[in-house]
């Protein structure tokens, strides 16, 4: 073989992710793909097209809508599902709150990140999902770096990092008992830059949020936050208009923007290459404590 036929790192990662998606389809009865309209889950959907076309997806797309999402991401979510003709299931955190199952946080910056887990676990129970595919990557956070591609959760949705199954070669073991659930992460081995380079090479469309635009913001802990009806402003807050874009998209209450003029994917990639902070450096949910992500995952969070 000549070196010419060697796959590039992106092609290798793509082949591995398609393999994992097909393993999910073959090993589980009722899988779901968690789809938020963010760049990582959009990449997952693109990989699923590659894994299953000309057939249909062997799973629905599922979104746990916190009610604090960016409208641009929701619109994109609906348009993409319609365009590819796949089923989209949406469940609302607001319903869990209304039913008294989840309690809204108090304070100036209330986040629904924690109580999202309640709705997720209820949705898993409602549809009896035995596997949920997610777009998490190991480079995002140190607790994620420890997680298997097939990550078994108990009947309470909990992750126990000390009781993980060994994962050898590319043989994935999806066997579980009734009530258990497997979280599957097909893009575990991708980095943020890989995702962006893949989006560029495959010409994948993204919500406008990722590109630079003018927006009203306030400063919080040196981070740029979008003004929305979900945060409480007081007279110490100064609302300014800035040219920003988002590097990661979660709830409007915990996702900070970065000041940026990058409105083309090449500029974004250049910006990420020279960035001195991680993607999750702009996520308030991870800054709550040293082990914030690990604690949330033990509780059933993605």
């Amino acid at each position: 073989m000549t070196t010419k036929s060697r796959l590039s790192h992106l092609q290798q990662l793509e082949a591995e992710s398609i393999y994992i998606l097909r393993e999910v389809a073959a090993q589980f009865e009722r899988p779901a793909l968690l789809f938020s309209g963010g760049k990582d889950s959009i990449t997952l959907v693109h990989l699923a097209l590659k894994a299953f076309r000309p057939g249909k997806f062997p799973f629905p797309l599922v979104h746990i809508d916190t009610g604090h999402n960016f409208q641009e991401a929701l619109d994109f979510r609906d348009e993409l599902a319609a365009k590819i003709g796949e089923k989209l299931i949406v469940r609302y955190v607001q319903d869990s709150i209304d039913q008294g199952k989840a309690v809204e946080e108090k304070g100036k910056f209330p986040s629904r990140n924690g109580i999202q887990t309640v709705t997720l676990l209820d949705t898993i129970a409602e549809f009896k999902f035995d596997a949920c595919i997610g777009g998490a990557r190991r480079d995002e956070e140190k607790a994620r770096a420890k997680e298997r591609v097939f990550s078994v959760r108990d009947e309470f949705g909990s992750w126990d990092p000390k009781l993980q199954r060994p994962e050898l070669w590319n043989i994935y073991n999806g066997k579980i008992h009734v009530g258990e659930n497997v979280r599957v992460f097909p893009i575990s081995n991708w980095t943020e830059l890989d995702v962006w380079e893949y989006i560029r090479s495959e010409n994948i469309a993204l919500p406008s949020l990722y590109f630079s635009h003018k927006r009203e913001i306030v400063w919080r802990d040196d981070l740029v936050f979008p003004v929305s009806k979900f945060i409480t402003l007081d007279n110490t807050d100064k609302v300014e208009e800035r040219t920003v874009r988002f590097r990661t998209v979660g709830d409007m209450t915990c996702t900070a923007a970065v000041e940026s003029e990058a409105n083309h994917i090449d500029d974004i990639i250049r910006e990420i290459q020279i960035s001195r902070t991680t993607e999750r450096g702009s996520r308030l949910d991870d800054k709550r404590s040293e082990a914030a992500m690990e604690d949330r995952k033990r509780g059933g969070y993605f």
Partner: protein, 410 residues
């Protein structure tokens, strides 16, 4: 740009986490917020504690040891790297096997003060058992032996001598200090005698020829795509990832274990049909004839068939607290297939320090041995020594559903 997956192995205090931290730090792969976080967590001897970059779990930070394998990522303009950071403790041998199973290269760390120790033997043995073709022995903490070339040569000779019968394809030695950064990314200013590469330089340049390229074509069928729509009424595609070699449109093939024969009609991808595909591509193969094929079957060239058998012999690393005993039944998962199996015999247990074969009536947690096993149906396989993709399997305990053994077929 290509991808290199490697594992780091070494005993508890050999400085493995520090080395990985150093590789990430000196190659500018650490972000400011990560540095801020480890700086908040405290310093060691006035230096930031680079080891904290790798230990991700609370219990690990509390105890200052690595419990579970973690994957780390970094890249240079020349290559992308995935590091499997495996724990050094004896009781986590299974985690090292896990990390080694996906690696093309292993870094073995030796403390220059201690030289080759028991753990070095154990780790090197696992590396050779798992058939990792390339080994870099990093002789670390050179600053604590006055950067002595004599000491370096001494350890090098010691390792070379013991590794003679391990069958490792390529061994490189590099003197380093992970704590100070000597010869990791930047050349050492205190080891003028060293004319060789830095560790990163070596990792960037080593030419990796993975199994995928060297071996006969193998395509385990993973999933059958049958849209049954008007547009694709008769479409029946066999989806999977090519494990080794390449397949071309028009190739004569055999389907195993049934032995049915056909010809490749087309090789499909989302972007369209292609004439030829090679490992490790994920593709969909369509055949000329309508034959019965399902997940777990293997498509191979008609003139390059692997073994097909129900009686297997394998080296196995045991990973469960409940011991492996003759007569026990497990689900055996090999490539995409799954079949019931029964352990017939434990041929011997291997003493990983000395490579001695000892007779054994059971294999307990973290032990390695050779077994004979019988499967309920025949499986198609290659010896692990020839093909890591089709020669490997895991055993699953059907009571707990846990993965309890990692096997390499003889």
């Amino acid at each position: 740009m290509d991808l290199l997956r490697f594992i780091t192995a070494g005993s508890v205090d050999d400085g493995k986490s520090t080395l990985i931290g150093r590789l990430l730090y000196d190659s500018k792969s650490v972000f400011q917020d990560q540095l801020d976080a480890i700086e908040r967590a405290g310093q060691v001897n006035g230096e930031i504690n680079l080891a904290l970059l790798t230990d991700g779990l609370k219990a690990e930070r509390e105890q200052g040891i690595t419990i579970d394998i973690a994957y780390k990522y970094f890249s240079t303009p020349k290559r992308k790297f995935i590091i499997a950071d495996a724990p050094g403790h004896v009781q986590y041998t299974r985690n090292m096997v896990t990390g080694a199973s996906n690696s093309d290269l292993a870094i073995i760390l030796i403390d220059a003060r201690k030289g080759v120790i028991e753990q070095t033997y154990r780790h090197s043995y696992i590396v050779s058992l798992l058939r990792i073709p390339y080994v870099v022995v990093c002789i670390n903490k050179m600053d604590l032996v006055d950067f002595s070339e004599t000491r370096f040569e001494e350890i090098k000779n010691q390792y070379t001598e013991f590794a003679k019968d391990l069958g490792l394809e390529s061994i490189e030695f590099i003197p380093i200090s992970a704590l100070r950064g000597d010869n990791v990314v930047d050349p050492s200013t205190d080891m003028g005698w060293w004319k060789g590469n830095t560790l990163l330089g070596y990792l960037e340049e080593v030419e990796i020829l993975s199994d995928e390229k060297k071996h006969q074509p193998r395509f385990p069928v993973q999933y059958v795509i049958r849209p049954q729509t008007n547009e694709h009424h008769d479409y029946r595609g066999y989806a999977g990832q090519i494990r080794s070699g390449s397949f071309k449109k028009g190739d004569q093939i055999t389907v195993l274990p049934s032995g049915l024969k056909s010809k490749i009609k087309s090789i499909d991808t989302f972007a369209g049909s292609i004439d030829e595909a090679h490992a490790p591509m994920s593709v969909t193969i369509l055949l000329e004839d309508d034959i019965d094929i399902s997940r777990g079957d293997m498509i191979v060239p008609a003139n390059e068939e692997p073994s097909v058998s129900q009686e297997l012999e394998a080296d196995i690393c045991w990973m469960d607290a409940k011991s492996l005993l003759p007569g026990n039944k497990y689900l055996l998962r090999q490539t995409t297939g799954s079949v019931k199996s029964a352990v017939k015999e434990i041929s011997f247990r291997i003493e990983t320090q000395t490579h001695e074969k000892k007779s054994a009536d059971q294999l307990s947690l973290n032990e390695i041995g050779r077994i004979k096993i019988k499967t309920a149906k025949p499986i198609a396989y290659d010896p692990y020594a020839h093909n890591r993709g089709t020669g490997s399997f895991v055993l699953v305990d059907e009571g707990t559903n846990n993965t309890v053994g990692a096997g390499m077929l003889i």
